[in-house]
Symmetry: C2
């Protein structure tokens, strides 16, 4: 008699963005004359840059020709892409990461969800609160947590590290030592960052305690300030305690193309076993490589023209971020992030809950954002706006804020 | 202190195809004048068909234009593709599968590896022997098996169902009742099939015992004979006990493009829980959809021109299969498969082991195949050849067999 994985039943009802989508749909249907501006879900809106499109077309042509057709890709990614990544994302910043420590995948969401598999189910994880839901949910599914506490809005057996304006959105060391520590900087949802010396302290903490840091740097390309690390491998000792997860989604608008990668230094060992070997085994057994054409697109991101075009796209979004951040501040809101990340995290006015502010904004301004509490209990009274809209919509949204 | 997933350590050393690759490399380096023909790994060689290439280019152009750019895809796949799949692969064959029961993914290998996650770790699995290694290995990693027995070459706690010429390569009901039953027809590696009444008996068995069948139909497009089911849903009652996994890799040469899908009927329940809900939750949490451009390519597979071109490609490979099968039989080999599948499964002559025959064939004929024992102990004394080579190489390989 087959039995289901009961851990799935611990997950509370509906996913944040489905709830938002339903609310927006209901409002839209009841108010067909209103023009709704969506600054909620973190999806890009700019098209893929011209030189990447050129690379895609060229690769498609190769696939249509018997002499240049490519079948199964190497499990860990094509050398041309792994080489470009190692050179531009790591060696250029002084990080000693070689191309065979890069595992190419079809996106950071999959990697974030799957990476926990190589660890024992009795590891205790620590996450920031608020947090990107995939870290916790994937661990719930694997049985690495207890039940969901409806009152606390937290899973038992998980260490939540509050990140609020009181601690500048940088987690403090928890009282219980975690085995696996998820950190994401520049942060989703808060848009805030960690300074190099603060990240170094976390690396030292992990080394001292034998913990492994799972470092999600999906928004690295948005960093504009000095002294903000682009990679955890800029910290001393990180090769021995940290895995880094990266994405092309926000760097180059690949949300619909799907490309990411994970870095596992070969020297990173747990219990004498190289985590590289385990992750390679997982790739070999349960994955068959990212599409050749998409890997060629990824390579083009690192070409001279590609980099120029990507930089311009990011600058476009960050101009939106500036408009939102300064606009909110001018209106007297407490707002954070938006300088090194495409997210602006505002504190809701007048003691409104996150969902009250969501409804208020949807109904009065026809602007959609994301309720902070959807990312965890310490996101209550916060609200996320994204810089991924068009300039026109961003300006319009800020005018509507003014009129609120 | 982090701890690794020790289940990974149960997996024996090296992956079948890496071992083959190393042996071939060593031989090639020692004999640089020899021209090696590869009929080993099951990768296609024909380029992507013209109308699919056209669809890819069109979709790439859409991604480069702000008005038609697509970001995150729907988790479960675009409706245009799910609709085409439901119509052409199921409704046209009388199967009552609707488009929202189709989960689009980046390939059947991922789906085959991941599907076990929605079941409890204390389910007992049954697999054919020989078998595609992903079914067992992914269950080993999840902790659903005991240790590997070096002598038996089997994992403890797994039910192996021998498939040999003695039972026409169709598994018999095991003495212990399994919870999850992996079946793959047309079969990899044997190239043999199951008749409709035989598959119906398995469906009845699963219904009677509350087991779930995981039915891998990746090679369905190669079926040429009547009375061989293309989908398990052609059997009565299968909606209540079976999940079907499908691939575009062998159907349309997508090994390097990555596209597949899983079918879970909404009515399929275990312990009162719809498996559809669990798999949807997994997609939502740990997956972000197949690339838009690849899904458009998948749609083109079902267009009128696309279907014609695909049919011609499959006919090309199946002509190779015929040349191999008949060639071997003419030479006095016992050979199987090759009529409804692109694989030919031969019984090694003179009592040679699978690896002895591998070395013999590599050294004397410079032809690479796959040792049957690599797929399980009952694959010993068998050997797999694939029909995916070029016509020229296939003919040349058979001439070399003749000269052996």
């Amino acid at each position: 008699m087959a039995k289901i994985n009961n851990n799935y039943l611990k997950l509370p009802g509906s996913y944040l963005f489905s709830t938002i989508a339903k609310k927006v749909k209901t409002y839209g249907e009841a108010n067909p004359d209103k023009e709704i501006i969506r600054l909620g879900i973190g999806d890009v809106t700019q098209p893929i840059a011209p030189d990447i499109i050129k690379a895609l077309h060229a690769a498609v042509d190769e696939m249509g020709n018997a002499d240049t057709f490519r079948g199964y890709a190497p499990d860990l990614g094509y050398d041309f892409l792994r080489h470009a990544i190692a050179e531009f994302d790591f060696k250029s910043r002084g990080c000693d990461i070689s191309e065979d420590e890069i595992f190419v995948s079809d996106g950071a969401k999959c990697d974030c969800g799957n990476i926990q598999e190589i660890f024992s189910t009795d590891n205790v994880i620590a996450v920031c609160d608020p947090v990107y839901p995939v870290y916790v949910d994937s661990n719930v599914m694997a049985g690495r947590t207890g039940k969901y506490d409806d009152e606390l809005k937290q899973f038992k057996g998980v260490i939540y590290m509050p990140c609020t304006k009181e601690n500048d959105f940088v987690p403090e060391f928890p009282s219980e030592v975690p085995d696996l520590i998820y950190l994401c900087f520049p942060n989703n949802p808060t848009g805030t960052v960690i300074k190099k010396n603060q990240l170094q302290a976390w690396v030292d903490y992990a080394l001292k305690n034998g913990s492994v840091i799972l470092y999600d740097a999906a928004y690295e390309a948005y960093i504009s300030e000095e002294d903000v690390p682009h990679s955890i491998y800029e910290c001393e000792g990180a090769y021995d305690c940290a895995i880094e997860l990266r994405s092309f989604s926000k760097t180059a608008g690949f949300t619909g193309l799907r490309l990411g990668y994970t870095v596992i230094p070969k020297r990173l060992k747990v219990d004498g076993t190289a985590l590289w070997d385990l992750w390679a085994r997982r790739h070999g057994t349960k994955y068959n490589g990212a599409p050749y054409i998409v890997q060629r697109a990824g390579e083009a991101v690192y070409s001279e023209e590609g980099r120029k075009q990507i930089t311009a796209q990011i600058a476009y979004y960050m101009e939106n971020a500036k408009l939102i951040l300064n606009g909110l501040k001018d209106l007297g809101y407490e707002a954070f992030g938006g300088v090194n990340a495409p997210y602006i995290w505002l504190h809701t006015p007048d003691g409104m809950t996150s969902w009250e502010f969501f409804d208020h904004l949807l109904e009065k301004a026809n602007v959609v954002g994301t309720p902070g509490v959807g990312f965890g209990p310490h996101g209550e009274n916060y609200f996320r706006l994204t810089a991924f809209g068009s300039r026109e919509n961003t300006i319009k949204a800020m005018e509507r804020f003014k009129a609120l």
